[in-house]
């Protein structure tokens, strides 16, 4: 059997024409024609404005779009046969390839990593095709620390609505900070940058045939950087606008976040067990990150889904949770909606016990991850209720308190991990 190749022959031919580059900007897409043109134009403007002398390329890894996404990306090329409104010293290639298989961000990232490796890109950024608010400055803020300060991974810091990114604020950020000892606000980024060293290291990981190589790969990249002691930095990007889209699939999101965190803890225990204090990660140009516009959240529905889900999965929880935690969870489910409160400590212990159950594979691991979904709804309801009237400072304080709780409970995690229940 010939060994599997990542890049198509046609794409390799195009990369040969691009040649060695200093900067590669990757844009993973799948039917993103609504926004990708605008995003790529901003990337192009950012490259020309902030890195006019760098050899740069924009690479689109597409999952089989049928809406003209790829053509929009290619139209951003600046060369000697096209006329551009922006003056450029160099040719700026903008090329597109369709990767094999079903649309998956991980596969797109692997294609981008392989291209960056082949072109020996010194710095690589990946931007989301949905980042309609992307400004040319983002390119500088993402790539600048890699180029100027030798950062290996630059993660974004966005201004988010106070009820946006609940899973990140309540689970991914606290666990990354408390367990892995790395205080980054967006461990699961959609706009980020990395060095050639980290890119090559990540490309050579044995994950690409596994789930984390297809979905949630960006979080895995962050964890790989933390575990590998790569230099991490954060850059403030501003508001992250999102397209109006169908409600996100929480089970899928849980697999891509909690699933990957648990998997990483399981695979690399030595990397996190000894971590005592989380290391602060520098943030370039950081500003307040919370916006407070009114937003309607259907708390009643959240409450119902929480109580219903927890009741439904009662037998599953018996095999995952310790008795005290299980009892406390049951107590919480009996609270009326108006008095509902899912405490920080219960949430931290629940997450840790799920991690241990995942480690021990007490039941199917995917079932464990899915079972966390209804409990998270309860935690999310509490966050929304507590912060309904809260201002920016109070929200930050609340998030800080959750992280502190996760840190305080880490010995509990270690104790469980080592055999106690």
């Amino acid at each position: 059997m010939p060994e599997e190749t990542i890049l198509s022959d046609e794409f390799v031919r195009e990369l040969i024409n691009v040649g060695e580059v200093d900067i590669l900007v990757g844009v993973p897409t799948h039917n993103d024609a609504r926004t990708v043109g605008q995003v790529v134009q901003a990337v192009r403007a950012g490259l020309l404005k902030y890195f006019p002398r760098a050899r740069s390329v924009i690479i689109n890894a597409d999952g089989g779009s049928r809406d003209g996404t790829r053509e929009l990306v290619c139209a951003a090329s600046i060369n000697d046969t096209t006329t551009s409104d922006l003056s450029a010293l160099r040719t700026l290639h903008s090329i597109s390839t369709q990767y094999e298989g079903n649309p998956a961000n991980g596969t797109a990232l692997r294609t981008i990593l392989a291209a960056a490796d082949l072109l020996q890109a010194k710095a690589c950024a990946v931007v989301s095709p949905e980042s309609a608010s992307l400004e040319p400055e983002w390119i500088e803020r993402l790539l600048g620390p890699v180029i100027r300060e030798s950062a290996d991974l630059v993660l974004p810091v966005y201004v988010r609505h106070k009820f946006d990114g609940l899973l990140i604020r309540n689970l991914v950020y606290p666990v990354t900070r408390a367990v892995f000892g790395c205080s980054v606000r967006e461990p699961y980024p959609s706009d980020y940058a990395f060095s050639s060293a980290l890119g090559s290291h990540f490309l050579n990981q044995e994950i690409w045939s596994q789930e984390q190589g297809r979905h949630g790969t960006e979080l895995w990249l962050t964890l790989a950087a933390i575990i590998g002691s790569y230099k991490i930095s954060q850059s403030f990007l501003g508001a992250k606008s999102r397209l109006e889209s169908s409600p996100s699939d929480l089970v899928k999101a849980m697999r891509e976040t909690a699933g990957l965190l648990f998997c990483s803890m399981d695979c690399y225990p030595a990397a996190w067990r000894e971590v005592r204090e989380p290391l602060p990660v520098p943030c370039n140009g950081c500003q307040p990150t919370v916006s407070l516009e009114p937003m309607r959240v259907n708390r009643k529905r959240l409450y119902q889904m929480f109580t219903f889900g927890v009741a439904q999965l009662e037998p599953v929880f018996l095999s995952i949770l310790s008795s005290p935690t299980h009892d406390e969870l049951k107590r919480v489910t009996t609270l009326p909606e108006e008095d509902f409160m899912f405490p920080d400590q219960l949430w931290a212990r629940t997450v840790y016990e799920f991690a241990v159950a995942y480690h021990r594979a007490v039941i199917g691991r995917d079932h464990i991850v899915q079972a966390l979904v209804p409990i998270f709804r309860g935690r999310a309801l509490t966050f929304v209720t507590q912060n309904r009237e809260a201002g920016e400072e109070a929200i930050e304080k609340g998030i800080e308190a959750v992280c502190d709780t996760f840190e305080r409970e880490k010995p509990y995690l270690l104790q469980l991990w080592d055999g106690g229940k």
């Binding site: 031919r13 195009e14 024409n17 040649g19 002398r53 060369n79 000697d80 010293l89 160099r90 040719t91």
Partner: protein, 546 residues
């Protein structure tokens, strides 16, 4: 007498630019002279060039390397006599070498008798031969060219108590081309040299001849009228002679100097030169193809003049601010390398003495549409001395051998008009004609070969150009065509090996014959033609349908 009757001879020319003062000193006084130059004509003939462009050799206080002329009708005594010049001219013609000389129409030295008379009183008959004013506020919209030294285009004359106009140094007052007597006098000057047999004039600083209020005083219609008049007189009385324009302008503005083929025969393509350097440093053909895309068509009888380096700074007037910054950072890291809006360095030091890049740049120079100029000493890779003032660092004595004064002069070294290059890399002991002649693969030997191949076909001088745009932007490829003869040129601007696929479908069936080694490459078929190229490599292929 002119040596050939072909009126378009300048299209096939390979020009060698030199200072008489810098080339060879026959008298032992420390300055090159015409007798010395005549002795070195065999060298130039052997190099393969067929036209010599002489820098100004008129009597002059030499405050601007001879561009400050004090007498238009004779030779500066330090270079010899008028008779010496005539002997040199005849000797050159005997070797089929044509001679282009400088003619500075725009200004004279302030030591020129005309200016001395003009300033002597406001009623002097020659008062109006220069541009005088009671105020220094006229022609406000006119830029200052020598930014490093001049604060205004007007200078106060304490003798006649008026301001005089000067576009260059204040010791170079501009002539007033609105004056009919001045015009006739200047034509008489030109006739003086044309009657002697000079083949062409390089007209210095032509855009600035005439001034008009409310304009930028450059490229004015009245200036074009002056040129048209000179050209008409020359065609009528001296057919086959040539006018070359020095006009540092954008191609679109330069186009007007060709008019309908009734102004200049040739003009320097100033914006191309820095972009060739930029293209090689960026490893990207974009700057080169972009400027050539902006270059307008010119009449059939006209021609661009191309050069890599010359006696002036590598001018960066015709580039954007971003491009200028880039050029400074890459090619003039030391402040002393910069002058005005340019870089005062020679070819070899600019290219880090990298033989491959020197060859590539010369290969492009010889294969692009136009007539190439080689600056003296660049054929052996001479260096520069940025410690000398102004542009004197690129005007040091020619290095003939490793002996006394580099073979340039028998004078005591301290008598030389300029210090010799002495450093271990570019010094005359290391870089000289004799040492280059010892090896078949020296730069000099290679240049001879390049010129020979260029001259073996009229395609490079007279043919059309069509750019190919292979997806690999590091490769600059074009097809030169004249009648049934077709040449494919492929240049790798990159410091690393490159693969390139060329779309040669229109030439399907042709065999490629590499012009240096005469080796045959595969026939062009339906598929893109794949070439692999070494760092900075270039190919010239003759397409043969056999």
């Amino acid at each position: 007498m002119p040596i050939s009757q072909d009126g378009l001879w300048y299209k096939d020319a390979v020009i060698y630019q030199l200072h008489v003062r810098s080339f060879y000193d026959s008298s032992g006084d420390g300055n090159g002279d015409f007798r010395g130059l005549a002795q070195k004509l065999d060298y130039l003939q052997d190099l393969g060039i067929n036209t010599i462009w002489l820098m100004p050799f008129f009597p002059s206080p030499l405050r601007d390397d001879g561009y400050d002329i004090a007498d238009y009708r004779t030779v500066n005594p330090i270079y010899g006599t008028l008779e010496d010049f005539k002997n040199f001219l005849d000797a050159a013609h005997k070797r089929n070498l044509r001679v282009i000389m400088e003619m500075v129409l725009n200004h004279t030295s302030d030591q020129h008798p005309w200016f001395q008379e003009s300033r002597s009183s406001r009623s002097n008959p020659r008062r109006d031969w220069y541009v005088w004013s009671d105020t220094d506020t006229r022609y406000k919209g006119t830029r200052i060219i020598f930014l490093d030294t001049e604060l205004s285009n007007w200078a106060w004359d304490p003798v006649s108590k008026q301001y005089y106009w000067h576009r260059f140094f204040s010791h170079q007052p501009d002539l007033n081309w609105d004056n009919p007597q001045l015009r006739e006098e200047m034509w008489d000057v030109m006739k003086f040299w044309l009657n002697m047999g000079v083949d062409a004039f390089r007209l210095d600083a032509v855009p600035y001849l005439v001034e008009r209020e409310g304009t930028n005083c450059e490229n004015l219609p009245e200036t074009h009228e002056v040129i048209k008049d000179v050209r008409a007189r020359m065609d009528r009385e001296f057919p086959g002679r040539m006018l070359l324009a020095e006009a540092n302008q954008w191609p679109a503005d330069l186009r007007a100097y060709f008019a309908n083929g009734d102004e200049f025969h040739m003009a320097f393509h100033f914006p191309l030169m820095p972009r060739m350097f930029m293209g090689v440093k960026l490893e990207d053909r974009k700057p080169i193809t972009e400027i050539l895309k902006q270059t307008p068509e010119i009449p059939d009888s006209c021609q661009w003049c191309l050069f890599l380096r010359n006696h002036d700074e590598l001018t960066l007037e015709m580039v954007t601010d971003m491009e200028r910054d880039y050029m400074y950072d890459e090619y003039a890291k030391e402040k002393g390398m910069r002058l005005n809006l340019g870089i005062r360095r020679r070819l070899a030091p600019l290219l880090d003495n990298d033989r491959r890049r020197i060859e590539l740049m010369n290969g492009m120079l010889m294969s692009m549409p136009g007539t190439p100029i080689i600056y003296y000493g660049d054929e052996i890779g001479m260096g520069d001395n940025i410690n000398l003032g102004d542009r004197n660092g690129v005007r040091t004595p020619m290095q003939w051998d490793g002996g006394w004064n580099g073979g340039f002069s028998t004078a005591d070294p301290e008598m030389l008009y300029s210090p010799l290059m002495l450093n271990p890399v570019y010094g005359y002991q290391a870089i000289n004609v004799t040492s280059h002649k010892r090896f078949d693969h020296s730069l000099l030997a290679w240049m001879k070969r390049l010129i020979k191949i260029r001259k073996a076909t009229p395609v490079f001088g007279r043919g059309s150009i069509q750019f190919l745009f292979p997806a690999n932007h590091r490769v600059l490829a074009y097809v030169r065509k004249l009648g049934s003869e077709t040449i494919l040129v492929v240049n790798n601007l990159s410091s690393s090996a490159q693969a390139v696929e060329l779309d040669l479908k229109p030439f399907k069936g042709n065999i490629l014959v590499e012009m240096f080694g005469k080796n045959v490459f595969p026939r062009i078929g339906d598929l893109p033609y794949l070439l692999t190229m070494g760092p900075y490599q270039f190919y010239w292929f003759k397409l043969r349908r056999l």
